[in-house]
Protein backbone atom coordinates (compact mmCIF):
# COMPACT_ATOMS: atom_id res chain seq x y z
CA UNK A 1 0.00 0.00 0.00
CA UNK A 2 1.03 3.58 -0.65
CA UNK A 3 1.25 5.63 2.53
CA UNK A 4 1.64 9.41 2.80
CA UNK A 5 2.61 10.99 6.13
CA UNK A 6 2.05 14.72 6.65
CA UNK A 7 4.27 16.29 9.31
CA UNK A 8 4.94 19.75 10.75
CA UNK A 9 8.21 21.37 11.72
CA UNK A 10 7.83 22.92 15.19
CA UNK A 11 10.31 24.63 17.54
CA UNK A 12 11.56 22.81 20.62
CA UNK A 13 10.41 25.23 23.30
CA UNK A 14 12.48 25.46 26.44
CA UNK A 15 11.34 26.24 29.96
CA UNK A 16 9.40 29.29 28.77
CA UNK A 17 8.09 30.72 25.51
CA UNK A 18 9.52 33.99 24.16
CA UNK A 19 7.68 36.02 21.52
CA UNK A 20 8.93 38.19 18.69
CA UNK A 21 8.51 41.95 19.40
CA UNK A 22 5.43 42.08 17.12
CA UNK A 23 3.79 39.29 19.22
CA UNK A 24 2.70 37.44 16.06
CA UNK A 25 5.09 34.51 16.37
CA UNK A 26 7.56 32.83 18.69
CA UNK A 27 11.12 34.10 18.84
CA UNK A 28 12.81 30.94 17.58
CA UNK A 29 16.26 32.43 17.05
CA UNK A 30 17.73 30.36 19.89
CA UNK A 31 15.59 27.26 19.43
CA UNK A 32 16.09 23.96 17.64
CA UNK A 33 13.29 22.40 15.60
CA UNK A 34 11.71 18.97 15.56
CA UNK A 35 8.86 16.96 14.05
CA UNK A 36 5.69 17.59 16.10
CA UNK A 37 5.33 14.60 18.51
CA UNK A 38 2.08 13.06 17.23
CA UNK A 39 3.45 13.27 13.68
CA UNK A 40 6.69 11.55 14.59
CA UNK A 41 4.49 8.64 15.66
CA UNK A 42 2.66 8.87 12.31
CA UNK A 43 6.02 8.44 10.56
CA UNK A 44 6.77 5.36 12.67
CA UNK A 45 3.30 3.93 12.00
CA UNK A 46 3.73 4.37 8.24
CA UNK A 47 7.02 2.47 8.41
CA UNK A 48 5.51 -0.37 10.46
CA UNK A 49 2.48 -0.73 8.17
CA UNK A 50 4.63 -0.90 5.05
CA UNK A 51 7.07 -3.30 6.73
CA UNK A 52 4.11 -5.58 7.50
CA UNK A 53 2.10 -5.22 4.29
CA UNK A 54 4.54 -3.99 1.65
CA UNK A 55 4.24 -0.76 -0.32
CA UNK A 56 5.82 2.68 -0.29
CA UNK A 57 6.12 5.61 2.08
CA UNK A 58 6.22 9.34 1.34
CA UNK A 59 6.55 12.23 3.80
CA UNK A 60 5.15 15.71 3.12
CA UNK A 61 5.42 19.00 4.93
CA UNK A 62 4.33 22.58 4.33
CA UNK A 63 6.90 25.04 5.58
CA UNK A 64 10.05 27.01 4.83
CA UNK A 65 13.15 25.65 3.10
CA UNK A 66 14.54 24.83 6.57
CA UNK A 67 11.81 22.17 6.95
CA UNK A 68 14.00 19.98 4.73
CA UNK A 69 15.63 19.06 8.07
CA UNK A 70 12.40 17.40 9.28
CA UNK A 71 11.81 15.67 5.92
CA UNK A 72 15.36 14.30 6.09
CA UNK A 73 14.81 13.15 9.68
CA UNK A 74 11.73 11.22 8.57
CA UNK A 75 13.70 9.71 5.69
CA UNK A 76 16.54 8.83 8.08
CA UNK A 77 13.94 6.81 10.03
CA UNK A 78 13.13 4.95 6.80
CA UNK A 79 10.61 6.96 4.74
CA UNK A 80 11.48 6.61 1.03
CA UNK A 81 10.56 9.92 -0.58
CA UNK A 82 9.67 13.47 0.43
CA UNK A 83 7.63 16.44 -0.77
CA UNK A 84 8.16 20.02 0.45
CA UNK A 85 5.35 22.53 -0.03
CA UNK A 86 7.60 25.53 0.30
CA UNK A 87 6.43 28.75 1.98
CA UNK A 88 8.22 31.92 3.03
CA UNK A 89 8.08 30.77 6.66
CA UNK A 90 4.94 32.62 7.80
CA UNK A 91 2.32 30.52 9.50
CA UNK A 92 -0.41 29.26 7.18
CA UNK A 93 -4.01 28.75 8.21
CA UNK A 94 -5.45 25.26 8.54
CA UNK A 95 -7.65 25.86 5.47
CA UNK A 96 -4.75 26.96 3.27
CA UNK A 97 -2.53 24.14 4.53
CA UNK A 98 -5.21 21.53 3.82
CA UNK A 99 -5.95 22.85 0.31
CA UNK A 100 -2.26 22.86 -0.57
CA UNK A 101 -1.85 19.28 0.65
CA UNK A 102 -4.88 18.24 -1.40
CA UNK A 103 -3.41 19.86 -4.53
CA UNK A 104 -0.10 18.07 -3.95
CA UNK A 105 -1.81 14.71 -3.39
CA UNK A 106 -3.83 15.10 -6.59
CA UNK A 107 -0.68 16.03 -8.51
CA UNK A 108 0.90 12.69 -7.59
CA UNK A 109 0.28 10.20 -10.38
CA UNK A 110 -0.99 7.32 -8.25
CA UNK A 111 -3.41 7.82 -5.35
CA UNK A 112 -2.42 6.99 -1.76
CA UNK A 113 -4.15 4.18 0.15
CA UNK A 114 -3.54 5.83 3.49
CA UNK A 115 -2.83 9.44 4.45
CA UNK A 116 -1.54 9.85 8.02
CA UNK A 117 -1.48 13.02 10.11
CA UNK A 118 -0.79 13.84 13.74
CA UNK A 119 -3.97 14.49 15.71
CA UNK A 120 -3.01 18.12 16.27
CA UNK A 121 0.21 20.07 15.78
CA UNK A 122 2.14 20.86 18.97
CA UNK A 123 2.27 24.59 18.22
CA UNK A 124 -1.05 25.69 16.69
CA UNK A 125 -3.25 22.89 18.07
CA UNK A 126 -5.70 23.42 15.20
CA UNK A 127 -7.10 19.87 15.19
CA UNK A 128 -8.52 20.03 11.66
CA UNK A 129 -6.06 19.75 8.77
CA UNK A 130 -6.52 15.96 8.44
CA UNK A 131 -10.30 16.26 8.50
CA UNK A 132 -10.27 19.02 5.88
CA UNK A 133 -7.97 17.04 3.58
CA UNK A 134 -10.24 13.99 3.91
CA UNK A 135 -13.31 16.04 2.98
CA UNK A 136 -11.66 17.60 -0.07
CA UNK A 137 -10.44 14.20 -1.26
CA UNK A 138 -13.80 12.57 -0.53
CA UNK A 139 -12.19 10.11 1.90
CA UNK A 140 -13.30 8.95 5.34
CA UNK A 141 -11.29 10.18 8.33
CA UNK A 142 -10.73 8.75 11.79
CA UNK A 143 -8.97 10.95 14.36
CA UNK A 144 -7.13 10.63 17.66
CA UNK A 145 -6.06 7.05 16.91
CA UNK A 146 -3.75 5.00 19.13
CA UNK A 147 -3.89 1.66 17.30
CA UNK A 148 -4.13 0.67 13.60
CA UNK A 149 -4.58 -2.71 11.94
CA UNK A 150 -4.98 -3.25 8.21
CA UNK A 151 -6.45 -6.40 6.63
CA UNK A 152 -8.31 -7.12 3.38
CA UNK A 153 -8.47 -3.49 2.29
CA UNK A 154 -10.01 -2.38 5.57
CA UNK A 155 -8.50 -0.44 8.42
CA UNK A 156 -9.41 -0.93 12.08
CA UNK A 157 -8.57 1.99 14.36
CA UNK A 158 -8.65 2.28 18.15
CA UNK A 159 -9.26 5.47 20.08
CA UNK A 160 -9.11 5.94 23.85
CA UNK A 161 -12.49 6.91 25.27
CA UNK A 162 -13.46 7.23 28.90
CA UNK A 163 -10.76 4.87 30.14
CA UNK A 164 -11.73 2.23 27.55
CA UNK A 165 -11.52 2.11 23.78
CA UNK A 166 -13.84 2.86 20.88
CA UNK A 167 -13.12 1.03 17.65
CA UNK A 168 -13.71 2.30 14.13
CA UNK A 169 -13.57 0.36 10.85
CA UNK A 170 -13.16 2.03 7.47
CA UNK A 171 -12.38 0.93 3.93
CA UNK A 172 -9.11 2.05 2.33
CA UNK A 173 -8.29 4.61 1.03
CA UNK A 174 -8.67 6.67 4.17
CA UNK A 175 -7.20 9.47 6.26
CA UNK A 176 -6.13 8.71 9.84
CA UNK A 177 -4.84 11.16 12.46
CA UNK A 178 -2.79 9.51 15.20
CA UNK A 179 -1.75 10.35 18.74
CA UNK A 180 1.49 9.79 20.57
CA UNK A 181 1.35 6.40 22.28
CA UNK A 182 0.34 4.50 19.13
CA UNK A 183 3.98 3.38 19.03
CA UNK A 184 7.43 4.37 20.23
CA UNK A 185 9.23 5.96 17.24
CA UNK A 186 12.58 4.46 16.24
CA UNK A 187 15.74 6.54 16.12
CA UNK A 188 17.09 7.57 12.70
CA UNK A 189 19.87 5.24 11.57
CA UNK A 190 23.26 6.35 10.25
CA UNK A 191 22.77 4.65 6.84
CA UNK A 192 19.31 6.24 6.84
CA UNK A 193 20.83 9.67 7.40
CA UNK A 194 23.26 9.19 4.53
CA UNK A 195 20.50 8.00 2.21
CA UNK A 196 18.23 10.89 3.28
CA UNK A 197 20.90 13.45 2.39
CA UNK A 198 21.19 11.98 -1.11
CA UNK A 199 17.46 11.69 -1.80
CA UNK A 200 16.03 14.39 -4.06
CA UNK A 201 13.12 16.20 -2.41
CA UNK A 202 10.17 17.14 -4.61
CA UNK A 203 9.46 20.86 -4.19
CA UNK A 204 6.17 22.61 -4.89
CA UNK A 205 5.28 26.25 -4.24
CA UNK A 206 1.60 26.53 -3.25
CA UNK A 207 -0.29 29.83 -3.30
CA UNK A 208 -1.36 31.22 0.10
CA UNK A 209 -5.07 31.56 0.75
CA UNK A 210 -7.06 33.58 3.27
CA UNK A 211 -8.81 32.28 6.38
CA UNK A 212 -11.80 33.31 8.45
CA UNK A 213 -9.57 33.14 11.54
CA UNK A 214 -7.29 36.15 11.77
CA UNK A 215 -4.50 36.28 14.33
CA UNK A 216 -4.43 39.52 16.32
CA UNK A 217 -1.58 38.73 18.68
CA UNK A 218 -0.02 36.06 20.84
CA UNK A 219 0.12 36.37 24.60
CA UNK A 220 2.22 34.43 27.09
CA UNK A 221 -0.25 33.75 29.90
CA UNK A 222 0.47 35.25 33.29
CA UNK A 223 1.01 32.41 35.73
CA UNK A 224 -0.82 32.53 39.03
CA UNK A 225 1.77 33.27 41.65
CA UNK A 226 1.69 30.50 44.20
CA UNK A 227 3.60 30.81 47.41
CA UNK A 228 5.08 27.38 47.94
CA UNK A 229 5.12 26.14 51.50
CA UNK A 230 7.99 23.74 52.14
CA UNK A 231 6.66 21.10 54.52
CA UNK A 232 10.09 19.75 55.32
CA UNK A 233 13.00 17.69 54.13
CA UNK A 234 13.09 13.92 53.66
CA UNK A 235 10.99 11.30 55.46
CA UNK A 236 10.55 13.51 58.53
CA UNK A 237 8.05 15.61 56.57
CA UNK A 238 5.57 12.70 56.30
CA UNK A 239 3.38 13.65 59.31
CA UNK A 240 2.95 17.20 57.97
CA UNK A 241 2.03 15.80 54.52
CA UNK A 242 -0.64 13.64 56.12
CA UNK A 243 -1.96 16.67 58.01
CA UNK A 244 -2.32 18.49 54.68
CA UNK A 245 -4.05 15.47 53.12
CA UNK A 246 -6.45 15.38 56.05
CA UNK A 247 -7.18 19.11 55.80
CA UNK A 248 -8.02 18.60 52.12
CA UNK A 249 -10.47 15.87 53.12
CA UNK A 250 -8.55 13.25 51.17
CA UNK A 251 -8.11 10.88 54.14
CA UNK A 252 -10.48 10.00 56.92
CA UNK A 253 -9.55 11.97 60.01
Amino acid sequence: MRVLVCIKRVPETGARITLRPDARALDTSLLGFTISPHEECAVEEALRLVEAHGGSTTVLTLGPDAAVEQLQNAMAMGIESAILLETDGDEWSAEATASSIVDAVRAQGEPFDLVLFGNEAADSGDYQVGVRVAHELGLPCVTGIKGIEVADGRLTARREAGGGWEIFEVALPTVVTVKEGINLPRYPSLPGRLRAKKTQIERLTPEPRGSGLELIRLVVPVEDETEVEVLGTGADAAPRVVTVLRELGLVAS
Partner: protein, 298 residues
Protein backbone atom coordinates in the same frame (compact mmCIF):
# COMPACT_ATOMS: atom_id res chain seq x y z
CA UNK B 1 -28.90 31.00 17.56
CA UNK B 2 -25.99 29.75 19.65
CA UNK B 3 -25.95 25.98 19.59
CA UNK B 4 -24.11 23.91 22.18
CA UNK B 5 -23.11 20.33 21.41
CA UNK B 6 -23.78 18.13 24.43
CA UNK B 7 -22.91 14.49 25.02
CA UNK B 8 -22.31 12.32 28.06
CA UNK B 9 -18.86 13.81 28.71
CA UNK B 10 -18.90 16.02 31.85
CA UNK B 11 -16.94 18.71 29.95
CA UNK B 12 -20.20 19.34 28.02
CA UNK B 13 -21.38 21.32 31.06
CA UNK B 14 -18.41 23.68 30.64
CA UNK B 15 -19.43 24.14 27.00
CA UNK B 16 -22.99 25.04 28.05
CA UNK B 17 -21.67 27.64 30.48
CA UNK B 18 -19.36 29.04 27.80
CA UNK B 19 -22.22 29.21 25.28
CA UNK B 20 -24.40 31.14 27.73
CA UNK B 21 -21.65 33.73 28.14
CA UNK B 22 -21.89 34.48 24.40
CA UNK B 23 -25.57 35.38 24.35
CA UNK B 24 -29.08 34.58 25.52
CA UNK B 25 -30.31 32.61 22.52
CA UNK B 26 -28.67 29.31 23.48
CA UNK B 27 -30.04 25.93 22.46
CA UNK B 28 -28.50 22.49 22.90
CA UNK B 29 -28.15 19.59 20.52
CA UNK B 30 -28.01 16.51 22.67
CA UNK B 31 -26.40 13.19 21.83
CA UNK B 32 -26.01 10.17 24.08
CA UNK B 33 -29.14 11.13 26.04
CA UNK B 34 -27.29 13.67 28.20
CA UNK B 35 -29.31 15.86 30.59
CA UNK B 36 -29.33 19.64 29.91
CA UNK B 37 -32.04 20.73 32.34
CA UNK B 38 -31.29 24.14 33.76
CA UNK B 39 -28.67 25.08 31.20
CA UNK B 40 -30.91 25.86 28.21
CA UNK B 41 -34.59 26.47 27.61
CA UNK B 42 -34.65 24.46 24.37
CA UNK B 43 -32.87 21.27 23.36
CA UNK B 44 -32.84 19.08 20.27
CA UNK B 45 -32.24 15.44 21.05
CA UNK B 46 -30.73 13.19 18.40
CA UNK B 47 -31.20 9.45 18.74
CA UNK B 48 -28.21 7.79 17.07
CA UNK B 49 -27.11 4.32 18.06
CA UNK B 50 -23.39 4.99 17.99
CA UNK B 51 -20.97 7.85 17.66
CA UNK B 52 -20.51 8.86 14.00
CA UNK B 53 -18.73 12.22 13.60
CA UNK B 54 -20.08 13.11 10.15
CA UNK B 55 -23.65 12.31 11.20
CA UNK B 56 -23.28 14.53 14.27
CA UNK B 57 -21.86 17.33 12.10
CA UNK B 58 -24.74 16.90 9.66
CA UNK B 59 -27.34 17.17 12.43
CA UNK B 60 -25.67 20.34 13.75
CA UNK B 61 -25.55 21.97 10.29
CA UNK B 62 -29.24 21.09 9.75
CA UNK B 63 -30.22 23.40 12.63
CA UNK B 64 -28.56 26.37 10.88
CA UNK B 65 -26.89 27.84 13.96
CA UNK B 66 -24.92 31.12 13.96
CA UNK B 67 -22.43 29.91 16.56
CA UNK B 68 -21.62 26.35 17.66
CA UNK B 69 -19.83 25.61 20.92
CA UNK B 70 -18.52 22.13 21.76
CA UNK B 71 -16.62 20.64 24.69
CA UNK B 72 -12.83 20.43 24.75
CA UNK B 73 -12.82 16.73 23.95
CA UNK B 74 -11.76 14.53 21.02
CA UNK B 75 -15.39 14.43 19.94
CA UNK B 76 -16.03 18.15 20.31
CA UNK B 77 -13.07 19.01 18.12
CA UNK B 78 -13.63 16.22 15.63
CA UNK B 79 -17.33 16.94 15.03
CA UNK B 80 -16.79 20.68 14.56
CA UNK B 81 -13.80 20.03 12.28
CA UNK B 82 -16.14 17.99 10.05
CA UNK B 83 -18.71 20.79 10.11
CA UNK B 84 -15.99 23.34 9.21
CA UNK B 85 -14.68 21.20 6.36
CA UNK B 86 -18.15 20.62 4.93
CA UNK B 87 -19.17 24.28 5.14
CA UNK B 88 -15.77 25.69 4.12
CA UNK B 89 -15.55 27.95 7.17
CA UNK B 90 -12.82 28.52 9.75
CA UNK B 91 -12.65 26.62 13.04
CA UNK B 92 -11.10 28.11 16.18
CA UNK B 93 -9.95 25.11 18.19
CA UNK B 94 -9.14 25.15 21.91
CA UNK B 95 -11.10 28.31 22.75
CA UNK B 96 -10.95 29.69 26.27
CA UNK B 97 -12.86 32.95 25.80
CA UNK B 98 -14.98 34.70 23.18
CA UNK B 99 -17.12 37.82 22.81
CA UNK B 100 -19.31 39.11 19.99
CA UNK B 101 -18.00 42.10 18.02
CA UNK B 102 -20.61 42.97 15.36
CA UNK B 103 -20.41 40.25 12.68
CA UNK B 104 -17.23 38.74 14.08
CA UNK B 105 -16.14 37.09 17.28
CA UNK B 106 -13.12 38.18 19.25
CA UNK B 107 -11.68 35.11 20.87
CA UNK B 108 -8.82 33.74 22.86
CA UNK B 109 -7.59 30.24 22.13
CA UNK B 110 -4.84 28.03 23.46
CA UNK B 111 -1.70 27.10 21.59
CA UNK B 112 1.05 24.80 22.77
CA UNK B 113 -1.46 23.01 24.97
CA UNK B 114 -2.15 26.25 26.85
CA UNK B 115 1.35 27.57 27.49
CA UNK B 116 0.63 30.24 24.87
CA UNK B 117 -2.60 32.13 24.11
CA UNK B 118 -3.73 33.49 20.76
CA UNK B 119 -6.10 36.45 20.44
CA UNK B 120 -7.91 36.25 17.12
CA UNK B 121 -10.88 37.47 15.14
CA UNK B 122 -13.24 34.89 13.66
CA UNK B 123 -15.38 35.80 10.64
CA UNK B 124 -17.85 33.79 8.56
CA UNK B 125 -20.91 31.82 9.60
CA UNK B 126 -21.48 29.63 11.46
CA UNK B 127 -18.70 30.30 13.94
CA UNK B 128 -17.35 27.03 15.25
CA UNK B 129 -15.80 27.01 18.70
CA UNK B 130 -14.55 23.81 20.31
CA UNK B 131 -13.29 24.70 23.79
CA UNK B 132 -10.01 23.87 25.41
CA UNK B 133 -10.44 21.25 28.15
CA UNK B 134 -11.05 22.63 31.67
CA UNK B 135 -11.37 26.19 30.33
CA UNK B 136 -14.34 27.20 32.45
CA UNK B 137 -16.53 26.09 35.33
CA UNK B 138 -19.97 24.56 35.01
CA UNK B 139 -22.86 26.77 36.11
CA UNK B 140 -25.62 25.43 38.39
CA UNK B 141 -28.84 24.20 36.78
CA UNK B 142 -31.98 26.36 36.65
CA UNK B 143 -35.33 25.44 35.10
CA UNK B 144 -35.93 22.24 33.07
CA UNK B 145 -35.42 22.36 29.30
CA UNK B 146 -38.08 21.85 26.67
CA UNK B 147 -36.81 18.90 24.63
CA UNK B 148 -37.63 18.29 21.00
CA UNK B 149 -36.73 15.03 19.27
CA UNK B 150 -34.67 15.73 16.15
CA UNK B 151 -34.57 13.35 13.21
CA UNK B 152 -31.82 14.53 10.86
CA UNK B 153 -31.75 12.93 7.40
CA UNK B 154 -28.75 10.69 8.07
CA UNK B 155 -27.48 8.74 5.06
CA UNK B 156 -25.00 5.85 4.79
CA UNK B 157 -22.36 8.38 3.76
CA UNK B 158 -22.67 10.09 7.15
CA UNK B 159 -22.18 6.76 8.88
CA UNK B 160 -19.12 5.56 6.99
CA UNK B 161 -17.02 6.40 10.05
CA UNK B 162 -18.68 5.23 13.24
CA UNK B 163 -17.85 3.32 16.37
CA UNK B 164 -18.39 -0.35 15.53
CA UNK B 165 -17.63 -1.69 18.98
CA UNK B 166 -16.15 -0.58 22.26
CA UNK B 167 -13.96 -2.03 24.93
CA UNK B 168 -15.10 -0.90 28.34
CA UNK B 169 -12.59 0.22 30.96
CA UNK B 170 -11.50 -2.23 33.64
CA UNK B 171 -14.19 -2.32 36.30
CA UNK B 172 -13.29 -0.22 39.34
CA UNK B 173 -10.28 1.41 37.67
CA UNK B 174 -9.87 5.09 38.59
CA UNK B 175 -9.58 7.30 35.53
CA UNK B 176 -6.68 9.70 35.37
CA UNK B 177 -8.75 12.52 33.88
CA UNK B 178 -11.46 12.39 36.55
CA UNK B 179 -9.48 11.23 39.62
CA UNK B 180 -9.69 13.33 42.82
CA UNK B 181 -6.04 12.63 43.53
CA UNK B 182 -3.27 11.94 41.02
CA UNK B 183 0.15 10.71 42.10
CA UNK B 184 2.52 11.53 39.23
CA UNK B 185 6.05 10.34 38.67
CA UNK B 186 8.86 11.75 36.55
CA UNK B 187 12.40 10.79 35.67
CA UNK B 188 13.29 10.98 39.39
CA UNK B 189 11.29 7.80 40.04
CA UNK B 190 14.22 6.04 38.37
CA UNK B 191 12.65 2.82 37.12
CA UNK B 192 9.46 0.95 36.31
CA UNK B 193 9.65 -0.75 39.72
CA UNK B 194 10.05 2.62 41.42
CA UNK B 195 6.38 3.31 40.63
CA UNK B 196 5.21 0.61 43.07
CA UNK B 197 5.55 3.09 45.95
CA UNK B 198 3.52 5.66 44.00
CA UNK B 199 0.87 3.01 43.29
CA UNK B 200 0.58 2.25 46.99
CA UNK B 201 0.14 5.94 47.87
CA UNK B 202 -2.46 6.38 45.12
CA UNK B 203 -4.36 3.30 46.34
CA UNK B 204 -4.50 4.63 49.91
CA UNK B 205 -5.87 7.96 48.66
CA UNK B 206 -8.27 6.44 46.12
CA UNK B 207 -6.35 8.13 43.33
CA UNK B 208 -4.71 7.33 40.01
CA UNK B 209 -1.04 7.15 38.99
CA UNK B 210 0.29 9.31 36.14
CA UNK B 211 3.68 9.97 34.60
CA UNK B 212 5.60 12.55 32.63
CA UNK B 213 6.43 12.13 28.92
CA UNK B 214 9.94 10.93 29.81
CA UNK B 215 8.42 8.15 31.87
CA UNK B 216 6.08 6.93 29.13
CA UNK B 217 8.78 7.23 26.46
CA UNK B 218 11.10 5.09 28.61
CA UNK B 219 8.34 2.49 28.92
CA UNK B 220 8.13 2.78 32.73
CA UNK B 221 4.40 3.51 32.40
CA UNK B 222 1.92 2.91 29.55
CA UNK B 223 1.26 5.98 27.40
CA UNK B 224 -2.32 6.14 28.69
CA UNK B 225 -0.83 7.28 32.03
CA UNK B 226 0.91 10.32 30.53
CA UNK B 227 0.01 13.72 31.98
CA UNK B 228 0.87 16.53 29.59
CA UNK B 229 0.37 18.17 26.22
CA UNK B 230 0.48 14.86 24.33
CA UNK B 231 -1.30 12.92 27.08
CA UNK B 232 -4.07 13.44 29.63
CA UNK B 233 -5.21 16.81 30.99
CA UNK B 234 -5.97 16.21 34.64
CA UNK B 235 -8.03 18.29 37.07
CA UNK B 236 -7.76 16.61 40.49
CA UNK B 237 -8.21 18.17 43.93
CA UNK B 238 -4.55 17.33 44.55
CA UNK B 239 -1.69 16.44 42.23
CA UNK B 240 1.28 14.88 44.04
CA UNK B 241 4.24 15.29 41.66
CA UNK B 242 7.10 12.97 42.58
CA UNK B 243 10.45 13.46 40.87
CA UNK B 244 8.83 15.55 38.13
CA UNK B 245 10.92 18.55 37.04
CA UNK B 246 7.97 20.42 35.50
CA UNK B 247 8.68 21.06 31.81
CA UNK B 248 5.99 23.29 30.25
CA UNK B 249 4.65 20.33 28.27
CA UNK B 250 3.94 18.61 31.60
CA UNK B 251 2.62 21.73 33.37
CA UNK B 252 -0.12 22.25 30.75
CA UNK B 253 -1.38 18.75 31.57
CA UNK B 254 -1.68 19.39 35.32
CA UNK B 255 -2.43 23.10 35.58
CA UNK B 256 -6.12 22.46 36.14
CA UNK B 257 -5.21 20.67 39.38
CA UNK B 258 -6.63 22.57 42.35
CA UNK B 259 -3.52 22.02 44.46
CA UNK B 260 -0.04 20.64 43.81
CA UNK B 261 2.29 18.93 46.26
CA UNK B 262 5.79 18.54 44.83
CA UNK B 263 8.24 15.97 46.14
CA UNK B 264 11.61 16.74 44.64
CA UNK B 265 15.34 16.72 45.37
CA UNK B 266 15.74 20.13 43.76
CA UNK B 267 14.27 23.07 45.67
CA UNK B 268 14.55 25.13 42.44
CA UNK B 269 12.79 22.71 40.08
CA UNK B 270 10.02 24.48 38.08
CA UNK B 271 7.37 22.16 39.56
CA UNK B 272 8.33 23.29 43.08
CA UNK B 273 7.86 26.91 42.02
CA UNK B 274 4.37 26.01 40.78
CA UNK B 275 3.40 23.95 43.83
CA UNK B 276 1.34 24.85 46.89
CA UNK B 277 3.39 22.54 49.08
CA UNK B 278 6.77 20.87 48.66
CA UNK B 279 8.86 18.27 50.40
CA UNK B 280 12.54 18.39 49.49
CA UNK B 281 14.46 15.16 49.32
CA UNK B 282 14.56 11.63 47.90
CA UNK B 283 11.07 10.53 46.87
CA UNK B 284 12.00 6.92 47.59
CA UNK B 285 12.35 7.84 51.27
CA UNK B 286 9.51 10.34 51.41
CA UNK B 287 6.73 8.43 49.62
CA UNK B 288 7.13 5.24 51.74
CA UNK B 289 7.19 7.43 54.87
CA UNK B 290 3.88 9.07 53.84
CA UNK B 291 2.42 5.61 53.13
CA UNK B 292 3.53 4.38 56.56
CA UNK B 293 2.11 7.48 58.24
CA UNK B 294 -1.22 7.07 56.46
CA UNK B 295 -1.43 3.41 57.51
CA UNK B 296 -0.60 4.29 61.10
CA UNK B 297 -3.21 7.04 61.12
CA UNK B 298 -6.01 4.87 59.76
Amino acid sequence: MILCVVDADPLSLEALTFARRLGDDVEAIVFDGADVDGYVARAHRVGLDEYAPEAWAHAIIDLEPDVVVAAGTDRGHEVLAHAAARLGVALAANCVDASVDRDTLLLTRQRWGGSLLEEARLAGSPKLLPMAPHAGGAAPPGAPAEVEELEPSITDEHLRVRVVRREEPTAGAIRLDTARVVVGGGRGVGSKEGFEELEELADLLGGAVGGSRVVTNLGWRPHADQVGQTGARIAPELYIACGVSGAIQHIVGCKAARRILAINKDRNAPIVQRADWAVIGDLHEIVPAIVAELKRAS
